[in-house]
């Protein structure tokens, strides 16, 4: 980490980045989805661990050059390109799945929103480790998914496979239970019935699976536990 981590408060660069929406699940913000790892302020090239060329996405530098980071620049005033000088920021994102194509769009959206809020020097870094887990989806995000008709992932996805030892093979799914922790049930997001059937473990995006409610007969999407 080469910059100073920004607190998660209103009016900060974190708040701007956190409000960007997932292009494939637009009811979720990047913060809700848990892919926004942190935001750092300060010149990322000043530290000892400065990343090498090409290690970060760095949009074309507008204007005469990046503003220097200082406390006065982070005064919390609402954004707008006419605002005061803002420090350089580095936004750290993590992908959900290795091949998720939404990541590039998220990155471009983060850069554009922060620029619009007056941050002229914006970098986005993608970090793989630790790997994203559906457990990182916020409570607010789970409610937003359910409100949009998408069944949120069960908590404690890790309980399925544990942290060590060979991953157990799951040949069958016990009736009435969700794919997550034993005892947690998956329910139809429309009628609430817990009598549901798996149609496919893979859905319209990498993070979804397809189900059908045995009660109201409607198909629905469930966000997978990983």
């Amino acid at each position: 980490m080469s910059g100073r981590e920004v607190s998660q408060e209103a009016g900060t660069a974190w708040a701007v980045a956190a409000a960007v929406r997932d292009p494939e699940l637009p009811m979720l913000t990047l913060a809700d989805l848990g892919v926004l790892r942190r935001v750092e302020e300060g010149d990322p090239t000043a530290g000892d661990e400065a990343p090498g060329p090409g290690a970060t996405f760095h949009g074309p530098a507008p204007g005469p050059g990046p503003a220097r980071g200082d406390d006065a620049a982070n005064d919390g005033t609402a954004g707008g390109s006419a605002g005061g000088e803002r420090p350089p920021v580095t936004v750290v994102l993590t992908p959900t799945y290795s091949g998720c194509p939404a990541l590039a769009t998220m990155r471009d959206d983060v850069v554009r929103r922060l620029r619009a809020a007056g941050y002229r020097d914006v970098r986005v870094r993608v970090e793989l480790a630790p790997p994203w887990s559906s457990d990182w989806i916020s409570e607010r995000g789970r409610r937003a998914l359910a409100a949009a008709g998408i069944s949120p992932p069960a908590l404690a996805a890790r309980a399925r496979s544990g942290q060590s030892g060979p991953v157990p093979l799951t040949l069958t799914r016990a009736p009435g239970t969700g794919p997550g922790q034993a005892g947690e049930s998956l329910a139809c997001p429309r009628c609430g019935s817990r009598s549901v059937s798996l149609l496919s473990q893979f859905g319209a995006t990498a993070c979804q699976s397809l189900w059908r409610c045995d009660h109201c007969q409607d198909p629905f999407t469930h966000m997978k536990e990983i």
Partner: protein, 337 residues
């Protein structure tokens, strides 16, 4: 697409908006009745799909671990990356041809996961030893991982031969995916530190930790379909049994170490694949028991000169697969996509 033509398209859309009954493409930002309006919350900036490449390995320790040779490590990254790339391409060939839409989507999703893994591993190979990347004309915008995927001949691919064969029928595809995903999950689990010390290469350990979560779903998918087909009709059982026998001919190669793997395993970077056999057999045994089948008794496929896919010696199926896969990129080495 030039800026001029984009402008023209925008004008066209505005004109259509004022013409009731027309069939112009709906513009979510200008159409209050649009079914998309609520989804996007009036955020017209949402439509800005990025195409630039970013570096998924940033933030990881890029150092080559002590005791590992750069040439061996780059070769190992190509081995694991090429396994994923070739398997991904064979799965992607099923798109629009699978038995039903859900399977179509599933196979495409699995292919996408593997392509993501392949990309990171090929990037790592190029970083560790730039000498493995094919030379392209000056000024070519092709990134190193694409140069490796689209500009190497078959003899430079280091994938195991299991993944390169033609798709065959659905029974063959499921049997092969079962063997491949069971083996890859055991391999990634070891590199990620689940079943032994994690790889001392931080990039390999991180790629593996992500991959374990993904391949767990791939193996479950293949195993469930294998049992379904084996316990289905006589014809489905015949096909999936034949598919397993065919895949099994390439099983021994999965557990045969290449000298680079052994050297890296001694340095704590790689896994000696021979040590994975017990874990793979346990998972496959569970599937075969549920299917009422025994492991096939077939001789291993011959290796020309005793050299395996890890050394770049392949069946003719690989070059036949690479020709259409690489044709467009090779025709336009200066192309921007």
């Amino acid at each position: 697409m030039s800026p001029t033509s984009e402008h023209g398209a925008a004008d066209h859309g505005a004109a259509e908006h004022g013409a009731p009954g027309s069939h112009g493409a709906p513009d979510p930002s200008h159409e209050p009745e649009s079914v998309y309006a609520g989804l996007f919350g009036g955020d017209s900036d949402q439509w800005a799909f990025g195409t630039d490449f970013d570096d998924p390995l940033a933030g990881l320790d890029a150092a080559v671990p002590g005791g590992a040779s750069r040439a061996d490590l780059a070769a190992y990254c190509l081995m694991l990356g090429d396994d994923a790339l070739v398997a991904s391409h064979r799965l992607a060939e099923w798109t629009s041809r699978a038995p039903d839409l859900e399977i179509d989507i599933a196979l495409a999703n699995i292919a996408l996961d593997l392509l993501g893994q392949a990309r990171m591993l090929l990037i790592r190979a190029a970083r560790v030893d730039p000498g493995v990347v094919p030379a392209l004309p000056d000024g070519s915008p092709v990134p190193a991982e694409d140069a490796l995927a689209f500009f190497r001949p078959d003899r430079q691919f280091r994938n195991v031969r299991l993944v390169e064969g033609e798709g065959g029928d659905f029974g063959q595809a499921i049997a092969r995916l079962l063997l491949f995903s069971a083996w890859r999950l055991a391999l990634l689990s070891r590199l990620a530190g689940r079943t032994g010390p994690a790889s001392t290469d931080a990039v390999l350990a991180a790629v593996a930790a992500k991959g374990v979560k993904e391949v767990t779903y791939h193996r479950d998918f293949a195993a469930r379909w294998f049992v379904t087909l084996a316990q289905g009709t006589p014809e489905s059982r015949r096909r999936v049994t034949a598919g397993l026998a065919q895949a099994w001919r390439y099983r021994a190669e999965l557990f045969t170490a290449h000298p680079a793997e052994l050297a890296l395993a001694a340095a704590g970077v790689a896994v000696d694949p021979a040590s994975l056999a017990a874990e793979v057999d346990a998972a496959l045994g569970q599937v075969l028991a549920a299917s009422g089948l025994e492991p096939p008794d077939v001789p291993p496929a011959g290796m020309p000169g005793g050299r395996p896919g890890r050394d770049g010696v392949h069946t003719e199926a690989l070059s036949a697969m690479l020709a259409p896969m690489q044709a467009v990129a090779r025709a336009h080495p200066q192309g921007r996509w």
